[in-house]
Structures are given as C-alpha cells and as structure tokens.
Symmetry: C2
Subunit: 429 residues, 2 copies
C-alpha cells in the first residue's frame, strides 16, 4: 500500500503545538507543580541544578550521621519516568526574560515557555554579619551537610590524638539560629556526642565538647506557641545544650564567634542556620521584592503584570489572610506548586484563576530521640514521645520514593534500638 493510499485515520491528526510550561526548581514547590501537570495536555520542562529532589527537613540528620546522603535524595528523572509529557533538564538558570518568555541555562540552552513556574527556593543570608560567609558552615544543600559531618567527626579524631586544642574550641559547636534547623541540629548533635562519640572515643572526655545554640531573639522556634518554645528550651538544656537567648552575633572568625554584648566563644565549628533569603534568581524578575528578596505575587501566585508567570515556594512572598507573608515551610511550597499548576490548567481552559489559600497542616520540630513538638490545626499540640511519633509518621509519609522510605525506616529503627548512628564515616571530598 503506497503512502498515498493510506487511510486518513492512521495518519497523525494535525496538532496544535501544546503549551510549553517551564518549571525551574525541583524542590517541594517545583516538584509538586510538575507532578500536578504530569499527564495534562501541556509539555513540561523541569530544570534544576541538581539531578535529585532533596528531602530538606531531614538534612540535619545527614549532618549528624543519622542518615546517609543518598537516603534523602531521590533522582528527579526516576520520579517522572512514567510521565511522557515531563522533560527533565539539568542546568543552572542564568537569565529569565519574562518579556520574551525565555529562560537561559548555563550550558547555553534556551527554553521558550508559554507558562513559567519559578520555584528556586531560598539561599543562605549572612545578614551582613562579618565572617559568616568565610567561617561558618551553611546547611542548605546535601554536599554542605556531608561537609559538616566530615568536619565534626574529624574534629573528634584530632582531639583524640591531641587534646591541647580542646580549650581553643576544637570540640565546641556553635549553632547560630534557634529556628527548627538549629533546634533539631542541637538535639541530634548532643545525642551523637553523648552516646555514639562517647563510645567511639573512650579515651576522650566528651563532656569537654560543647553544643552552644545562640539565638538573637528571646525565644526558640519563633512561630510556635509559647508552650512548645518552652518545651524545646527545657529539653535542649536537659540534653546539655547551652542555649543563649537574646544573643545576636557580632562576628564570626576562624577561632569562634563574638556576641553583640562582647562575649567571645571559642569554637572551631560554627553552623549558620539563622538566615535565609530568596534565591538570587528572584532579582531577575521585574516588580516588587520584600526585604528578604522574596517576590511579591498576586493572590493567585502569579507575577504582577505577568499572568503566565508563577512564583512559588520559598522564593515567593505569599501574603496570608492576616496580611503577613506565609512562612517558608515545605507545606506552603507543596500547596503553592500544586496551585500554580492548577492555575495554568484553568487558564488554558479559559477559566479565571483562583486565589491561593494555604491549608495549615501544622508545624513540628524534633528535639532528639523520642521528643518533638507538633502543633496541628485546630489547636492540637503534641509533645514528647507522642509529638515524636507524629513527626516520624509525617516525615516518612512525605519522603519521596518507597525505597528511600524503607531504607530510612530501617536506619531509624536501627538507630532507635541500638542508639547507633551508622553513617558516621568521614567521606573526603
């Protein structure tokens, strides 16, 4: 049968080109936007500088040797393997042109879009405090967590063969910032040191090690209820963590930190969890920004004047019902990403978009073994073991990938039964 005689029905129907959606960022916001568009009549390109989706709420577990780096990273391409309309691209966005509808990547590729979802997250901010960038360890990425784990474990190895530097802060870890990351790090560190490292370094007096949590305001866990804040404070102090409230940092040096009141703390390890600001990519967008660099968006999460551009997750200043910006939480990012996807589909269907409404699923922070604070919607507050079980369940459920979930569960169960933290290997970079 010659081509000319082929029945019309078997030929490809003439197709309108499908709308192109570019999603930048495969964190909670971008990943969920792309997932919500999988199978929809659009062509999605998901761009990220890493080839994995990181489960950042557990990053502190990697930094404290409770989990291996691969346990909280899931390959993005694996997530979308079954979704024909989603293309994944590894690359760093260098330019966003909202007039020309184009995104440029570092390797020279240009992506043209009909809709753009910008979900590039936050980055570390030093608040202009001298020495933070040079001397403090950030804790925002997987390599940073591995690097910090190596550094802490190596300090104990050095102390084991030469105790002379201990008074100079060789075993002193200052955590700057009393938010969830600082509190969770402090709890996990005190357990790592008090149990595992105490056994590992029998000839070393690990009570000489100090974990110091410094917070500029007069409370831990800003945003939580006063009862949870008190619970976190007393739990950490019971674990031997030195918590300094109302203690802003003046500077960080190679030898330690200086507080605003002039106090010096000798410390070879300073972890900076205090400051986040919007990813610098936000500055490529036109329009108003908040002081922390976040992009002010319309109620439907679109960029003012650009109904085809959505800004979601930590990079967006989403104003809640009380006229205050929503916190930079995983849940806000997840729901925001889904809302942007929904708005694109409504737009394509010729229907008006709707305002984003955040459904509060609560907030939680763990403070070590069998202790956590959880504040659920409706005023339900859990703490202690119950809070910890809630935290465990929520984090397992949201961890992407069944295999990761299973391995993390094995690791946790192992840690729990044996008090072991099996990932305390120093993997040189």
């Amino acid at each position: 049968m010659s081509p000319a005689l082929r029945p019309v029905s078997s030929a490809a129907p003439p197709q309108r080109p499908r709308p192109r959606v570019v999603v930048v960022g495969s964190g909670f916001a971008g990943l969920n936007a792309a997932l919500a568009l999988a199978g929809a009549p659009v062509d999605v390109t998901l761009v990220d500088r890493d080839n994995y989706h990181g489960f950042w709420p557990l990053l502190y577990q990697v930094a404290t040797a409770g989990l291996g780096p691969d346990d909280i990273a899931h390959p993005v391409r694996a997530i979308f393997a079954g979704h024909q309309n989603v293309t994944v691209r590894l690359g760093i966005v260098t330019q966003v042109d909202v007039e020309q509808h184009r995104v440029e990547l570092d390797h020279g590729e240009v992506l043209l879009y009909d809709y753009l979802v910008l979900a590039v997250g936050s980055s570390t901010s030093d608040f202009g405090i001298p020495g933070v960038r040079e001397h403090a360890f950030p804790l925002k990425t997987l390599p940073e967590a591995v690097h910090l784990r190596n550094h802490i474990l190596t300090a104990f190895e050095h102390a084991d063969s030469d105790r002379s530097a201990i008074p100079e802060g060789l075993l002193t870890i200052v955590l700057a910032g009393g938010g969830p990351t600082g509190v969770e790090m402090a709890g996990a560190l005190s357990e790592l040191i008090g149990t595992n490292l105490a056994l590992d370094f029998r000839h070393l007096d690990v009570t000489a090690a100090r974990v110091v949590l410094v917070e500029a305001t007069d409370r831990l866990l800003g945003g939580f209820s006063e009862r949870s804040q008190q619970e976190a404070l007393s739990t950490l102090r019971n674990k031997g963590v030195e918590v300094l409230l109302g203690a802003p940092l003046a500077k960080v040096t190679a030898d330690g930190v200086t507080l605003a009141d002039g106090t010096d703390i000798a410390a070879r390890t300073v972890v900076w969890t205090a400051g986040v600001r919007a990813n610098p990519l936000a500055s490529l967008l036109p329009g108003e920004k908040r002081r922390n660099g976040t992009v002010v968006v319309e109620p439907d999460l679109s960029l003012p004047g650009h109904p085809e551009v959505f800004v979601v997750g930590d990079v967006a200043a989403v104003v809640g019902g009380d006229d205050r910006a929503l916190p930079q939480l995983a849940q806000v990012a997840i729901q925001g990403g889904r809302h942007a996807a929904g708005s694109i589909l409504r737009h394509l269907a010729g229907r008006p978009t709707r305002a984003f409404r955040y459904r509060d699923h609560g907030i939680m922070a763990t403070i070590g073994r069998q202790s956590a604070v959880a504040e659920l919607p409706g005023g339900l507050k859990l703490r202690g073991t119950l809070g910890w079980l809630a935290w465990l369940a929520v984090h397992l459920v949201f961890l992407v990938g069944f295999r990761n979930r299973l391995v993390v569960l094995v690791n946790w169960a192992w840690n729990y039964v044996t008090w072991d933290r099996a990932s305390r290997v120093i993997l040189d970079d």
Copy 2:
C-alpha cells in the same frame, strides 16, 4: 575511711606494661588482625587514613549507583566500641622505623610498638602507560567511586541537552582491565544504562552509549577456570558490552584511548582497573620486594630478620604451596590478618610461630543481574542464577555490621524487583 586505711585488695595490682601492637590499615587484613587481638593481653592501636572499613568487593556498586557510599562503609570505632584494649587512630603513616620500633603519623604523633602488623593494602599502578594518571578514573576508594558515578551520570545529562558530543565519546565508557572489577563494572554499567538510564533519558538514544572492556591478555578473569572465563565473556557480550581481548593500551588522553595496535577509541570516561601494586608504604620496609612492590615475607608472614613485624594482605607477597604468590583477595587478607594476630599471641606465650596456610574459599565475580561465576573449593563451579545467589549470600554474610547488611539487602531487593538503581544522584564534591 582515709586512703591510708583502704584495704590492699582494692588497690591496683602492680602491672607489667602490656605488649603494644600497632596495626596499620583497617582493610580486611588489618581489621581482622585487630579483631583477633581484641580481648587478648595486649594493647592494640589500629591506624588508618579513613575512619571506616570499606567493603571493597562492592565498590563497583557505588560507582554504578546501586548502593550509596555509606552502605559499604562501616565506622571502625563502632566495630571496636566494646573492646577496651583496641585504640583507633585516624592518621597517615609517614615513617616506619623497624630498628627503633616506631611508626610516625602525619600529625606528628609517634607510636612505639612491640609488634607491628602492616596491612596497608594496594594502590593503583599505571604500568607506566602514558595518560592513565591524568585522564583515567581509578576505582580503589569510596570518594573515587562517588566521583566516577557523578561523572557518568553527568555525561548523560550533558548528552540529553546536546547530542553533538556523543560521536566524540561523551557516552563511551572504556574499562581498562578484564579482572573481576572490570567485569563486574561492565555488567553493572550495561544494566544501569540499558534499563535505568534508558527510562531516565527517554529523549536520548541510549543505544548510542558504549561500554568497552579492553584487556591486554587473551582472556577475562585470569585466575578463573576457562569455563568461567567463557561464561563471563558470552554474558557480557550478550549484554552489549564490547569486549576486546589481547588489546593492551598504548595511551590514554582526554579524548579517549589508543590501543597498542593503533586503534583509537573516543571516550570521555576511561576507568582504570588494570593495575594494582603494593601501597608505597611498603618501600619504607627493609628487605626484598617483588616487581609489584609487595614485600617478600617469611612463611609465618613476618618480615625477614624482624620476627616482631608482620606484613599481611595485598601489601605482602605471600608464597603459596606452588611457590607462586597468593592472589590479592579479600580471603587471603582476612586469613593473613588472623594468622599474624595468632603468631603474636604464640610469640608472647613463648611458642614458635607457624607457617601461614591459605584455605581456599573459592573465587567469584558477578556479571550483572542474576548472573555470576563462582568457583568453590573441591572443584564445584556455579554460574548463572545459582552463582549469583552464592555471590549474594557470601557478600551479605561478610558485609560488616548488621545495619549495613540490612540496608544493602533492602537496596538489592528493591533493585531486583524494580530494576531500579536508586542511588543515581549526582552529589557534587
């Protein structure tokens, strides 16, 4: 009760200082020497440059994204947590003085010994082939395996956005050396590419990727029976691996390799598994060395003229019954380490040492999913699925640490059921 009135029995009895044993290296040989001395009336110091014992037979699994780096590394201090007479020291040995009985570490510490067990293993040898050191990836350490994994996955990411470099070898991987590591890498790589990466990179024709195994001699798996060699060859060729036998390398460049017969193969990834030689530390010892740098030892594994120094594992040239050196195998190292420990205890008891006799537990190599060759003592040869099950069981049993074993089992079961290789994350260093 004043100190003067304290009964004599509670005072510490006057003690002869206990013999000091320094074990250098926490690989199979050193670890087993130290384990065999745990609880014995000696003070053991175990020195290694890393703080973990690596399970090197599975290193190729890390390089091919089947396991995470932490899965095959077990903290050495955790292994000896219950053994009071074993002290662990992180450090690089810079000097060994067998006359003065002293070992110097890079951080300046000096360890004095009554007995020394040198188990520093092997390192990569380039056989003098130009370009190997500059352009080929070695595969002897955990960071090297992670680096290679990153490199291979990144090559596919680059190819996905720009196909132009594929003919220049962007997706060509040359494995130099047809020993167990080369064969196992080839099998695992062909599966990684043919299943996972084929799904991950839907828009890329992964059949353009090439895995080329080049071997200087006319056979794979030297040391195995001819039947196993044939089995490995046909299995790899069925998997699409290009196996070139009798093909010595002339040089490696940034663009690929040149064979001795002048053939050029364009390849952006060249993995060098062909050459091992003794750790350069061997040269610090007096006495005869073999051409590959290994130390010639007495039948009881001691250094000639130094009955208090034992050289075991890959760094030793242990002559077997047929006057040939024993192969550099994990089992030889494990048994040698135990034998050295036993010799020290016999020496202390005033009894003569005995000649080391290697008990052959067989050799095995896996060639991918459900396929392996295993040659057990007594002439029993397994292949295919049965060989693979034997391989699986042996590797699980010997993997140090119950938690590692459990996590590796979960990972393997997951890989097996789903064909997934979940560790394919590019973790920048």
